[in-house]
């Protein structure tokens, strides 16, 4: 059965091709094709997993291109991690597609939506199965592309377009670094294959500096895709997409690809202590940093988004500290309960028509299924035993406790915050008195196609943790482990730390929001600077705007100036210099006088003017530049050689 694994990504591919082909027929049957394909893929994945559990494995590759003495291959490999990921991806994708039957019903681009979902599923499955870095990179970009398409699904609203662009460009920043990393590793070893690469790295065949650099650059790709600090800014904005998409891509699968990459290339990382330190610290910083921002969000999806960033940080933290099994186990459990939470939030948004939690309240009386499944999901996220999150988070913190006490305490604090913000979200949404009576009156439970996936995911979120539960022998660790299977001894510090964290978080949240014993207003006014800082996302987005937008404006000015001088001759050039100086001083003046806010707005518009000039659109100029360059190169060749 494992030998059939290559078939799994091909099913969604076929479905994408079928749905995506242009057709004038306005049929809604396309959804069945997508669901059918991913359903069969899910059954196949189960078969593969069963095979792998019984000790099977499979791998095959064929030569794609030969360049000199290096052959580039395409191939797949199936091991424990792959098999588990296959099941998770196909299952979540299946649930999301079924759920979308209800959520996206009557959407203008229903067909396109299902086509891109299939494309995404194909790309993600390919990414999971790929046996070398180059192939993984190809699927990696495909995943990014389909994410872009889905975030911008409702592209009539410019804000959604901006969010899609932001997601695409931000992850691209990481991808460039990742590609350089791949090339460094390739230049050192002459292979892209994970297996060989890992063996060579473990055997010390790569110099320590090159290995560390390659691994860290590789990790930069994961930072972009998994929304780790400092490239996390795109994920909260990506919530502009349809909610089922957020569940599939921005919670369960795509953002987990970064974690998966680190897991897949783990031998490389493990051979470089520096890279492991970077992974662990970035993970730890992200975990606590995103958790603090989740504390103050009013938008229910934003809470989940920051929570996802934070949990991904957890996974990185675990992986970076040597907890291979722990980090990847959290990836699996998180996929289930976060998909559940997102779909639950989608159900709420579908019913109320708003994402603002301050306009909800008391919904559990109207939407019992959504409410109770949400509570199961949030309990799993908060780490309340015996639900899924408890077991996986426990493992990570246990690893941290032995490896790095500082990061352990960061993790515990983040866990407490997690419990706090998810309790807050739960209470504001489902309990208390309805704050918007008009909305409340119209609310009704979502249709069955939406609630059934919720129930299935809730059951999984509640039970999947037992796969990694040490009292039950941790079957997951038997399947996915690095080196020898080993169990860390549970210590009372970790047990009490974790328990105290979630109990404290839940109680404080209830005290503020349910009991009203602590006034919300008083906390906000007491911690005004902190609150403002958090509300503004630590000003990181603003800083990026300032740094990169402004930076490119400056560059554009210089380039645009050069262009104008070359084209229009020196007379114009003198004028241009004067104007440029005037513009620059004017810009500076406006900066100082009007402050940063106005400056950013002006800068963007002036900058686009500059870009306009840079891109003259005259193809002949471009060709001329090419020709002159070639001739110069030839001249250097002739004179020099």
């Amino acid at each position: 059965m494992a030998g059939l694994a290559w078939l799994i990504p091909l099913l969604p591919l076929a479905s994408w091709l079928y749905i995506g082909l242009p057709s004038h027929r306005a049929s809604t049957r396309y959804d069945r094709v997508g669901i059918g394909a991913v359903g069969i893929a899910f059954l196949l994945s189960l078969g593969v997993l069963w095979d792998v559990i019984r000790g099977g494995s499979a791998a095959a590759s064929f030569t794609w291109a030969v360049h000199g003495s290096t052959a580039i291959t395409i191939g797949y490999q199936v091991d424990g991690l792959t098999a588990v990921m296959l099941v998770v991806v196909t299952l979540v994708s299946l649930m999301v597609q079924v759920y979308s039957l209800g959520y996206m019903h009557g959407d203008r681009r229903y067909k396109r939506y299902y086509a891109v979902l299939s494309l995404f599923t194909f790309a993600m499955l390919g990414l999971v199965l790929a046996d070398n870095l180059l192939l993984l990179y190809i699927f990696w970009e495909l995943v990014g592309l389909s994410s872009y398409l889905l975030i911008g699904h409702w592209f009539e609203d410019p804000a959604n377009v901006r969010a899609a662009n932001k997601a695409f460009l931000t992850t691209r920043a990481g991808d460039v670094a990742m590609f350089i990393g791949i090339m460094i590793l390739f230049s050192q070893t002459g292979t892209f294959a994970f297996g060989e690469l890992g063996e060579l790295a473990q055997a010390g065949a790569i110099s320590a500096q090159a290995l560390a650099l390659g691994a860290i650059l590789l990790f930069a790709g994961a930072v972009g895709k998994s929304a780790q600090f400092p490239l996390h800014v795109w994920l909260p904005d990506a919530m502009a997409g349809p909610t089922p998409v957020s569940a599939l891509i921005h919670a369960a699968t795509m953002v987990a690809a970064g974690v998966y990459l680190v897991g897949r290339a783990y031998p490389v990382f493990a051979a470089s202590p520096e890279a492991m330190q970077v992974v662990a610290w970035i993970g730890g910083i992200t975990a606590i940093f995103a958790a603090t921002m989740a504390l103050v969000q009013a938008d229910i999806k934003k809470v989940l988004a920051y929570s996802t960033v934070s949990q991904l940080g957890y996974m990185m933290l675990g992986l970076g500290l040597g907890g291979y099994t722990a980090g990847l186990f959290h990836l699996i459990t998180h996929a289930f309960f976060k998909a559940l939470l997102f779909l639950g939030s989608g159900s709420v948004i579908h019913a109320t028509g708003t994402q603002d939690m301050h306009q909800m309240g008391g919904l559990i009386r109207k939407m019992p299924i959504t409410g109770w499944t949400w509570i199961i999901g949030s309990a799993a996220l908060a780490g309340i035993p015996p639900l899924a999150g408890f077991w996986s988070k426990d493992e990570i913190l246990l690893t941290a406790y032995y490896a790095n006490p500082t990061l352990f305490w960061i993790g515990v604090v983040a866990a407490a915050m997690t419990a706090f913000y998810i309790t807050r979200a739960t209470w504001l949404t489902f309990f208390g008195a309805p704050r918007d009576a008009e909305r409340y009156a119209q609310v009704q439970e979502s249709p069955r196609v939406m609630t059934v996936p919720l129930v299935i995911l809730a059951v999984l979120a509640a039970t999947v943790g037992f796969l990694g539960a040490p009292p039950l022998g941790a079957p997951f660790a038997q399947l996915v482990h690095f080196g020898e299977v080993h169990h860390l001894e549970m210590t009372s510090v970790v047990t009490w730390g974790v328990t105290a964290a979630w109990v404290l978080g839940v109680l404080v949240a209830l005290a503020i929001y349910a009991g009203g014993w602590i006034s919300r207003q008083r906390i906000i006014s007491g911690l005004r600077p902190v609150y403002t800082l958090l509300k503004n996302r630590y000003y990181i987005d603003d800083a990026y705007d300032y740094l990169f937008v402004k930076g490119s404006i400056g560059l554009a000015y210089v380039v645009g100036w050069l262009d104008r001088v070359v084209v229009d001759g020196i007379v114009n050039g003198v004028a241009a210099i004067t104007r440029w100086f005037a513009d620059a001083t004017g810009l500076f003046d406006r900066e100082v006088v009007d402050g940063a806010v106005n400056g950013v707005a002006d800068g963007v518009s002036v900058g686009s003017q500059a870009f306009r000039r840079l891109q003259s659109g005259l193809v002949q100029s471009y060709i001329l530049a090419m020709a002159v360059t070639v001739v110069l190169g030839l001249a250097i060749f002739v004179i020099g050689g």
């Binding site: 070359v566 001329l624 002159v628 001739v631 030839l634 002739v638």
Partner: protein
């Protein structure tokens, strides 16, 4: 000086001179016809080089199809040449000496390219003598085309199909003319440009 070399030089001069006139002649239609002559010259060089099939294909495709197509296109669309192309190359260079894009820089780039390539060819080592051509190579070309190169061959056919579809789709007149051009009724003859 062998017969081969003499015919090569004659054909080369034909090719280059008519190539120059493609760029330089004032009349667009003349330029198209010189283009055809230049293609014929290249076909002759193919023959000298022992590529009979290619020479035939060159005549068929370039002279027979592409040149005809361009001539036809010029006639159908009633294009008059633009003034800038209407003068001789040298007059244009002198007139536009100051312009970056149409003045000396492209001339220097193109001439520099040719000169540098010739210098490089002079400096390089070359096989002294070609192996003798072993009769017609038509059979070899045919066999290669349908064995080793069969995949590119099929892809080429798909490209051609796509190009035909694209050309038809582009040049088909919509039933509803765009709002701006309601005054100009499309003559019936122009409906057939889609090849």
């Amino acid at each position: 000086m062998s017969l081969d070399l003499i015919s090569f030089i004659v054909l080369g001069i034909i090719t280059l001179v008519s190539g120059y006139l493609v760029v330089a002649s004032a009349n667009l239609m003349h330029a198209a016809l010189f283009l055809g002559l230049s293609f014929v010259g290249v076909a002759g060089i193919y023959l000298v080089l022992g590529a009979e099939f290619l020479a035939a294909a060159q005549i068929l495709i370039y002279v027979g199809a592409i040149t005809t197509l361009i001539v036809f296109g010029i006639m159908v669309s009633n294009l008059q040449d633009l003034k800038a192309g209407g003068r001789g190359v040298w007059a244009r260079v002198v007139r536009n000496l100051a312009s970056f894009r149409r003045g000396l820089v492209p001339l220097v780039a193109a001439a520099g390219f040719a000169i540098l390539m010739l210098v490089i060819y002079r400096q390089s080592l070359w096989p002294a003598e070609a192996p003798p051509a072993s009769g017609s190579n038509l059979a070899t070309v045919g066999r290669l085309l349908f064995t080793e190169y069969v995949v590119p061959f099929e892809i080429a056919s798909v490209i051609l199909l796509a190009a035909v579809l694209g050309a038809v789709a582009l040049s088909r007149r919509d039933d509803q003319p765009p709002a701006g051009s309601t005054g100009q009724a499309a003559p019936a003859a122009e409906r057939k440009e889609g090849r």
